[in-house]
Symmetry: C4
Subunit: 204 residues, 4 copies
């Protein structure tokens, strides 16, 4: 099946999801509270917006990188890709829910952290299935030596292992701390986790 | 007419529609009900989200497959494609309506099931018109033997025959059962209905 | 300037605008009115959705056709294209406003008809400027004989002349009649107005 | 890394953001105020819509222009591009906030102007980083003489210098005047600021 349309459709879904994140930002015009105060009090919305923007940005960067490894897309890769998008599309929802309840002190803040963590986990697992399937089904168009294949699987297998940890840490500390823990994961994927594992096949 | 832009526009519409599905998910922040309870009680929204995501995903997969059969797009195919998109765009609306009324016990739940079924039927008929027109007008760029043409028409002609049945079964049983009946149709299209009927023309 | 990205951006904007049209459709779940009654009473929303979907569909078809005439895009064509998109983006808004007030009997229904008509006129004028500028600046990549150039200008110059008429007729009769008058314009552009004026340059 | 998908994703994000601008336009159907009066009183929404549409339009035109200078995209350019999109996505939010408070006479109008100005500044700085990085890392695929490089940097370095000025002027005069001051910046980028600095590499 053609790779171009799979990428175009995925790009479209991720572009819409990343843009809808800003829908959670809004000022209540009829509120009697000063606008400056409203904005200050909504800081979890702004922080969660930046975090989720970076997360979808990272997913897109990774998607871009992983689909460069192959130019042959089979049915299973198509399904795994749809599964990834199923989770990506819910990110604006869990971001909004998190922002609404992050300053809550009771059980609701923990529920919101769990919900966000569950979607991250689902996303991370389905993202991991992409390189796993490419390697297993031999869909890569340049040979990938075993050492580099292992590196590749570790890079994307790391996320499903770390998100339960960051989520648990946020549950043990506080909901706003989730932003810090998840930001560290993002920092990894925007820094060392963005380095090419093998020489870029399209660069040749 | 150029095939690239027709695919790009259709991909764009389907990507936006599939992403807007998650707009039906939301937690009422000022509600006094615990967030965990709200999420549990909103299970039809989550289930309907997954069903409709899969349905739009299947439509996109089918669209991808059917447009690979041709590289010549005439005016009628353009119109049939717009008709398909007209129904696709309403899927977030009927999904939201279904989710809002699925747990209702009266006539409203049945109305919501009927509304969802009507859009599925309109979508299925217009999707069927795509291979029908490609074959009748000879727009296919590789010859399709009669046996395979018949298979192709049956695969997409099956949906407009089955949606009235699944809708009627849901009306006879209960609104939540609609999810099960429609999920079976989705399972067919993600499983056996995804197998290539002829050797993929773009693979050659 | 590259034509590909201009088309991709325009396709994206039109795809989002056409999908957002369905946002005007919604059922008030807390309403005490039966869902079936709500849907019946909202018929102007459904009718306006279909009309505006067809109008954006036609704009996309025309855009596709007009940009096939050229493969050289200068700054002015870029600006004219942005002007067209400025009006396209407001179509969901004027559609929602029209649907909300169409059954009103007072001045508000007429205001809504005028608003819809004003956006149609702005869209039609900027769409007309596209072939006008292509011909004047000689951006066409195959020669267009004077007779065909005149035909081309008439086809797209017809809309800015007819929308004031359909709008005036709706003001003289009733707001719901606007749907009928505008549907006739759509019928022209989906029928005879879709026929190629010259042999399609990309077909060669 | 492939340039095509970076452009496609950026086009998608900008297309969604520009279309969501019109979401700020709405008429309160249950309001007792005449629709014509509502529309007149909402003039800041319409004016802000046109301004922000032009601003996103300009960003897209500049993006298009700047990415034509290179066909090699490194990690840092990818990150700078995501930073630009992070600000672009918030434009519908600051536009809505500005429109809601522009006619206010107190501190809220000034807060809204500051918020709009802050997003413009963030956008302008990240946009400036694109040519800066292309030149520093030598990603340009045709040589750019020093004189033209200086011109290029001035064109995009001008915006981060001018937005604090236009914002300060609006704070000193009145919130509605912000539309005029920012419109002058837009006029520069749609006029002289659109002229090619060097012969277009794709034209050759």
């Amino acid at each position: 099946m053609g790779k171009g349309r799979v990428e175009a459709f995925s790009d479209g879904v991720m572009a819409v999801a990343i843009t809808l994140l800003a829908f959670n930002l809004h000022a209540g015009v009829r509120s009697k509270v000063a606008l400056a105060t409203q904005i200050r009090e909504q800081w979890p919305s702004f922080a969660a917006y930046v975090l989720s923007f970076c997360i979808i940005g990272v997913i897109w960067l990774n998607h871009h990188y992983l689909f460069q490894l192959t130019n042959r897309i089979d049915r299973r890769l198509m399904l795994v890709n749809l599964l990834l998008l199923l989770f990506v599309v819910t990110i604006p929802y869990v971001t909004a829910t998190y922002a609404d309840y992050a300053l809550d002190t009771g059980a609701d803040a923990r529920t919101a952290v769990l919900l966000y963590g569950a979607v991250m986990e689902g996303m991370a697992i389905s993202r991991f299935l992409i390189p796993l399937h490419i390697l297993r089904a031999g869909l890569n168009h340049v040979p990938i030596p075993p050492g580099q294949a292992r590196k590749l699987l570790w890079r994307y297998g790391f996320a499903p292992l770390i998100f339960p940890v960051t989520t648990a840490l946020a549950l043990l500390t506080s909901a706003p701390m989730m932003l810090v823990f998840h930001a560290l994961v993002v920092a990894y994927y925007l820094g060392p986790g963005m380095r090419p594992i093998m020489s870029d096949p399209e660069e040749k």
